[in-house]
Amino acid sequence: MQAIQDDNYTTEDYDVFQIAGRTCIEDGESAQVLSIVVDEENKNIVRCMGWNLLGPLVQILLKKEEKNLPHCLAILTHLLEVCSPKELLVGLLEQVEEAHPDSIAETVILLLQPLQKVLLRLGGRKASSVGMALSTLLGQVARLPVPQTKEQEEDDVFSLCRCCSALLVFVRPFVEEAKQSGTPTPKEDELRTELLKFCMKSLCEPLLEVQLKDPETLAESPLRNFATEILGILSDIGESLPELLCHGLLRRREVPGFLEEEVCYPKESLASLAYLLFVQHIAMDTFPTVFSSVFVLQCNMEYINLFLSRTEESRLQKGLDLYEKSLVRLEDNSLPVQLMELKSFFSVPQNLVKVMTLCPIQHLRTKALKVLQLSINKFDTEAKYKFFQCMLKTSHHAGVEGYIIKNIKNQIDFALKPEKGNEWFMGVHLLPLLRQVLCLPQGPETDLLQNLDRVMESLNLLRYLLIRDKEWKNQTGIWTELYKIEERFMKPLRMGLNMSKAHYEAELQNTKDNSKKTNAKESQTQESVCSLTVGNEKMPNMTPEMQLQVLHSALHTFDMIESVLARIEEIIEVKEKP
C-alpha cells in the first residue's frame, strides 16, 4: 500500500484503504498494517478511516493466535488514540452488538478497556455515550447464562462473573467523575443519570436472576461483589437507598415527566434492590438504622406484590422471602387497621392465596401459607377482624376459608381468656362475622365435598362456641343467635347431607350392580369402563374398583360431617333442657 499524502480522499481511496487493510489483517499481515498505520504520512487517512479496521482487528484478537496478537494490539492502541472517539465508539459497540453468541463474554472483556479509553477522550460530552455503551454492554451480558449453584458460580463456565467484575472496573472512572461533591453541574448530572440507568438495569439483569450465596457458603463471590458495588455506585451518585425504596410511596420532586420516572426508577429494579437489602443483606450496613419497621414493610409491600404477581418460581420465592423478612421485624399485634386501606395490603394476600391454591410447586404453596399466617399474627385485633371478613368474601376457595375460620376460632378463644377480651371477637362485632362463617353458600344444594374444609371448620367453630361459652354468660352472643344459626346453617346442612348420602348410596348400588353384570358377561375385549355422574359432573373414566373407592370415601366424609353436626345438636339439646 502506498502512502497517500493528500487530504482530499475520494470514496475509492477509502474503499482501497479499508479492503486492503482488512485483507492484510485477516491474512496475518498485521505487522505490515501496523507500520502503515503508525506512519506519520498516513496520519490523516488513518484518523478518518482507521475505525473501519476495528471489525477485522477484533476478530483476529478473539482468535488469540499468538503470532498476530502483539501487532494487532498495537494497531488497536494506536487507533484508539488517533481516531475520532465518536466513530471509534460506534465501531466498538457494533462489535459488541454483533458478537457471536458463543463469544459474547470474550468480546465484552476484550473491548471494555478500549471502550473506556475512548469514552474518557470524550471529555465533558461523554454522558450520553457512556449511557449508550453501558446499555449495549449490559444487553449482551444479560444474555449469558446465570450460575445458580455455588459450584457454577465458582466455575463460571459462561463467564458471567468475569464480565460483571470487568464491568465494575470499566465503570469506575465515570463513577468517580460523577461523584464530585457539592451540587453537581449539569454535565455531572447527566452522567449521574446514565449511571443510575445502568444500576437500575443491572438490578434486573442479571441481579434478579441471581441466587446470591452468603459468605459462609461462598467466601469469595463475584456476584455478591457485583451486587454490593452496584448499590455502592447508587450511593456514590447521590441516590439514597431509603429514598429509592420509598420511591413508590413518595414522589421525587426533580424528575420530570412520567416516562422519565419509569426509566430512571423502574419498579422491578427497585424490587430487586429491596430483596438484596432486606433478604440478602447486601449493603445493609449503609442503610440507616432509624426507620420504623412498619414503614419498611409499607415500602416493601409494593415490591412484594410485584414479585407475587408473577408465576416464575424465582420471583415467587423472592416475594415470599421479602414479605417474611419484613414481617419478622414486627411485634405481634402491632399492625394497625389503617394499613388495610392501602391497596398493596389487599393485593398481597390475594396473591398469596393464588400461590397457595394454584402454584404447582409444593414448597412455594407451603411457604405462602406460612407467610400468610405470619402476616395475620402481626395485624392488631381490629385489622385481623377486617382481614378475616375480607378473605371470607374474596378467596372463593374452601381450603382458604377453612383456614381463616380456624384463625377466627383461635381469636375467639384468646378473647375469652380472662382479661383478654376485645370488642372484635366477642359481643356485638363478633356476630356479623359468625353469620358470615356459619352458613352454607348454596343452601342445601351446597357441594359438601368441595366445601368440606369450610364446612368442617365451621362446625368445629360452632361446637367450640357452644361448649366454651356458657349460655348464662353468652360472651360471644352465640346463644341468642342460635335459633338463626339453626335455620340458616344446621337445617340446610342436615338436608344437604341427607340428599348427598342418598345420591351416593344410589350410585354405589348402581356401580355394584353394573360390575356384577360385567363380570357375568365375561367379556375380555370389552374394557370395564363405566360412567359415573357426581354433582352434575361426569367423572373421568375409572375402573369399577376405583369408583367404589371414590363413592365409599364420599360417604365416609358425609358420616364425618354428620357426626359433628349430631354432637352439636346433642349439646344444644342438653343445654336447652330445663
Binding site: 461523584k179 450511593s235 456514590d236 443483606h281 440507616p288 438504622t289 432509624v290 420504623s292 412498619v294 421485624r329
Partner: protein, 220 residues
C-alpha cells in the same frame, strides 16, 4: 410553719372497709413533708399509690405522721428539685436535662448544643440530620457522619418527613422537640426503638436501648 393537725380517723375507722385507701393517701399527701412521703413510698398519682400500697401500710404511715409530726412545712426547704440545682450560668451550656414526660418516659433528651430555638419542625416537615447511633455498651451501630480520618466519602445528612411514623418513635418524638441547629443526645427505650424483636440479622439485639446523637441541620 404548719399548725398541728388533728387526727380525723381512729384506728377502728382506719381499719374499716368503709374508708377507702384513696382518702387516707390524699390526706397524707396533702399534709406531710416531702421526705416523709418519699420514705413511706407514698408519692405520685393517688390511683397508682392505691394500687401498690396496702391498707396496713397506710395505717402505719398515718400513725407515724402524727407521732413524728413531720407535717408539711415542718422540715427545712429541701424540696429544691434536681433541675434547679443543676442550672449553671456558663458560656458553654453543658447538660441541661429535660425529662420528657408522657406517661412512663420512653426517651430522654439532653441538649448538647442549643439550636436557634425558633425553627421547630412540625409533623410532616422534611428534616435533615447528622447522627450517630450506639448501643448502651457504647458500640456504634450506625452513623452518617463522614469519617474525618479516612478519605471523605460523599455523604448527605439523612432526610425524612418527621412525625409520621417513618422513623422509630423515639426519633419522631425527639426531633419534634429540637430546633434547627440543635445537637441533642436521645436515649431511647426499646419500646420506642426496635422493641422486643430488635432487628433480626443485624446489629440491634432484642430489647435494646438506643442512644443517638442527632444534629438537626435543616427543617423543610
Amino acid at each position: 410553719m404548719a399548725a398541728e393537725l388533728t387526727r380525723e380517723w381512729s384506728d377502728e375507722q382506719l381499719k374499716s372497709d368503709d374508708l377507702p385507701k384513696k382518702d387516707i393517701i390524699k390526706f397524707i399527701q396533702d399534709n406531710s413533708a416531702h421526705s416523709f412521703l418519699a420514705e413511706h413510698k407514698l408519692m405520685g398519682n393517688i390511683k397508682n399509690v392505691a394500687k401498690t400500697a396496702k391498707k396496713e401500710q397506710l395505717i402505719i404511715a398515718y400513725n407515724d405522721l402524727f407521732e413524728s409530726k413531720r407535717f408539711l412545712g415542718s422540715e427545712p426547704i429541701e424540696d429544691v428539685t434536681e433541675h434547679v440545682k443543676n442550672v449553671k450560668i456558663d458560656d458553654k451550656p453543658k447538660e441541661v436535662v429535660e425529662v420528657v414526660d408522657e406517661g412512663p418516659p420512653k426517651f430522654f433528651k439532653s441538649v448538647l448544643k442549643k439550636g436557634d430555638k425558633t425553627n421547630f419542625p412540625k409533623k410532616g416537615d422534611n428534616v435533615s440530620c447528622w447522627y450517630t447511633g450506639s448501643l448502651e455498651d457504647g458500640t456504634v451501630f450506625d452513623t452518617n457522619i463522614p469519617a474525618t480520618a479516612r478519605k471523605k466519602k460523599q455523604s448527605k445528612p439523612l432526610s425524612f418527613k418527621v412525625g409520621l411514623g417513618r422513623v422509630i418513635r423515639g426519633w419522631d418524638e425527639g426531633i419534634l422537640t429540637m430546633s434547627k441547629g440543635e445537637t441533642a443526645k436521645l436515649e431511647i427505650e426499646p419500646e420506642w426503638a426496635y422493641g422486643k424483636k430488635g432487628l433480626p440479622d443485624s446489629k440491634i439485639p432484642p430489647n435494646a436501648k438506643l442512644i443517638f446523637e442527632v444534629e438537626l441541620v435543616a427543617v423543610d
